[in-house]
């Protein structure tokens, strides 16, 4: 099975996660979007610390690009991670509010 076919298969999985997520999100938005009650949590902002994880993401992106210049097969890291992005957005809908 070539890398192209693997990416198609994984892409389908990533797209499915995305679509399940966005469907949940759309239903939730339609239910709460018209709610004119004042946001009882206005001004309450997540105070989690993202410094290290943000730094990790920045460094990881640099490493992935550098790896494309190390071995030819690692050129496919970009497309593979793009599928992770789609799945990630879908996951964001699923973990919303938790």
């Amino acid at each position: 099975m070539s890398m192209f076919h693997i990416i198609i298969a994984l892409g389908a999985v990533g797209a499915l996660i995305f679509l399940v997520g966005i469907a949940k999100g759309a239903v939730g938005a339609l239910r709460s979007g018209h709610d004119t009650d004042a946001d009882s949590e206005a001004g309450v902002v997540d105070s989690g610390h993202y410094g290290f994880t943000a730094a990790f993401a920045v460094v990881a992106s640099a490493v992935v690009i550098a790896l494309a210049g190390v071995a030819p097969g690692l050129i496919y890291l970009g497309p593979l991670l793009a599928i992770v992005t789609a799945a990630g957005v879908g996951t964001a809908f699923l973990v919303e509010g938790h």
Binding site: G11, G33, A42, G43, I65, I75, V84
Partner: protein, 513 residues
């Protein structure tokens, strides 16, 4: 790898191109109607989505508005021009720029939870200074217009390259498609269609890039060897000329493009407050793979020895040229085009939504506070058409793509440090803020035109930041950000036929300048 073997995929007729542009527009228009019917009743819904956007749509829409024609086409172009160093300098600061919003977004959302625009923050921060808020409003409008026209130019480049449609026609059709659907739902439409468009620039884009390499005799190995043979430095991320040539300048410019952009601040105030921080982190991190994936097309351009003259003169066309000439089946080329269009449409849409918020809050409500809700709603929506028309006019004039981008970044760079300091440093005062931006534009832009991008950018940052700091140290004022918690909803969520609504008087800020 012989570039003469590259031939246009058969069937890429202008009709197919128009079908792609208009078809995508119609699909999004139907969605827009449904969204408007369900979620949009008034200006408040239109410009701030009733502050009900959750994590999912927040992440998806932030990625969508940040995935400009830049991310999907310039990533390939910079790789083509500088090798992996070009991709490195283009990509790494890009995702960071989104995540860099986090501390500022958190501060303002906590202390000014009912805000709408960054210009509004500046107005209250500096004691209702019309000059300070006016400068920021003008900068925001200018930045939004350039955002629209850059992506409109991107649309015209890809359509004209792949389908041989006159680029001016492509630009006209493109802007009409976007404005038609975004007119109906404002921010909710932008957020939902943008999130859907994020799917287009991920999975289909990944499949197309993989297909390109699959279609090359020898695949990634052959491309790798050819790229290395063309220039050893192509596979290195450590080329100093890439850093000096555009990388460092772009890095600062990208920071300015998020922190000093109403498109992102509109998201800050429209996303549920508990999800703001997470949204910008997830969006920044998940954004990275998109330009990395599409950047790999630039390596193919190098491998085939393509010259800019082979692809119409604009290196931004390298991605579309490779995809449409490598021998892919017609439907995959169309999928790629739809991915690019999705990126461009969603960014133009998001920018138009941001423009509507600026017009409603920073212009109409500020200067004509007694405007009835119905009229305000109509003006807000029509402002999107005005912005699109201006952007279209500039694009049709034929300005160079790269020049437009670098000019945008330079102007926003002048606002960046003063704005950051206004948020985090209590001693920033009006004189320093206004003076810093003005002097940076006046002298920094002149230095830039003489000494180039790098020195120009550093000069702009230095002049603007130093002016703010010096003025702040010389002055005695201290501003309490917490005083902005009393700023109320400027645009009430009222039925469209509500009677004329006056400006909701915000309680006087305490501890201000």
């Amino acid at each position: 790898m012989d570039k003469t073997s590259l031939l246009a995929t058969p069937g890429l007729t202008p009709s197919v191109g128009f079908a792609a542009m208009i078809g995508l527009g119609l699909f999004l228009l139907v969605l827009s109607f449904l969204i408007r019917r369900a979620l949009v009743r008034n200006t408040h819904d239109f410009i701030i989505a009733n502050r009900k956007i959750g994590l999912g749509f927040g992440v998806g829409s932030v990625i969508a508005v940040w995935t400009w024609a830049m991310a999907v086409m310039m990533s390939s172009a910079m790789t083509y021009k500088w090798g992996l160093s070009g991709l490195f300098w283009f990509v790494v600061p890009n995702g960071f720029a989104v995540m860099a919003m986090i501390p500022f977004a958190r501060l303002l959302r906590r202390n000014m939870p009912q805000g709408y625009t960054i210009s509004e923050f500046v107005e209250y921060r500096f004691g209702h200074s019309k000059v300070a808020s006016g400068i920021v409003t003008v900068t925001m409008i200018f930045g939004i217009l350039l955002e629209i026209l850059i992506n409109l130019k991107g649309t015209s480049v890809v359509i004209s390259t792949v389908f041989a449609i006159d680029w001016k026609i492509a630009a006209i059709v493109g802007i009409l498609c976007v404005l038609t659907y975004s007119y109906f739902g404002g921010l909710w439409t932008s957020v939902m269609t943008g999130t859907l468009n994020t799917l287009m620039v991920t999975v289909p884009a990944a499949i197309v890039v993989a297909a390109v390499y699959h279609n090359i005799n020898g695949g990634t190995e052959a491309v790798f060897q050819a790229v290395q043979a063309a220039d050893q430095r192509n596979l290195s991320v450590l080329r100093p000329d890439a850093a000096a040539g555009f990388g460092i300048t772009l890095a600062f410019g990208l920071l300015a493009a998020t922190v000093a952009d109403q498109t992102f601040w509109q998201k800050v105030w429209s996303i549920k407050s508990r999800e703001v921080t997470r949204t910008f982190f997830w969006a920044g991190a998940l954004f990275y793979p998109i330009p990395i994936c599409l950047g790999m097309l630039g390596l193919v351009g190098i491998a085939y020895g393509l010259a800019p003259s082979d692809i119409g003169g604009d290196i931004a066309a390298i991605g579309p040229y490779v995809v449409s000439h490598i021998g892919l089946p017609l439907f995959l080329v169309v999928v790629y085009v739809l991915a690019i269009l999705a990126a461009c449409y969603s960014t133009i849409d998001g920018a138009s939504a941001a423009l509507s918020s600026v017009v409603a809050v920073d212009i109409v409500r500020r200067y004509w506070p007694c405007t009835a809700e119905g009229r305000l709603f109509m003006i807000t929506k029509l402002s999107m058409f005005a912005g699109g028309a201006v952007a279209l006019g500039i694009v049709l004039s034929g300005a160079d793509f790269t020049t437009l981008v670098l000019t945008t970044y330079a102007l926003k760079t002048a606002v960046l440090l003063p704005l950051v300091l206004a948020i985090i440093w209590p001693r920033t005062n009006t004189l320093g803020f206004v003076g810093g931006i003005s002097l940076a534009i006046l002298f920094g832009m002149s230095i830039r035109s003489v000494y180039g991008e790098l020195i120009g950018t550093l000069s702009i940052l230095g002049i603007s930041g130093a002016t703010v700091i010096i003025a702040g140290l010389l002055g005695r004022e201290q501003f309490s950000l917490a005083s902005l918690r009393n700023v109320g909803n400027l645009i009430e969520s009222v039925p469209p036929n509500a009677s004329p609504a006056g400006l909701h008087p915000a309680p006087a800020a305490s501890g201000g300048n």
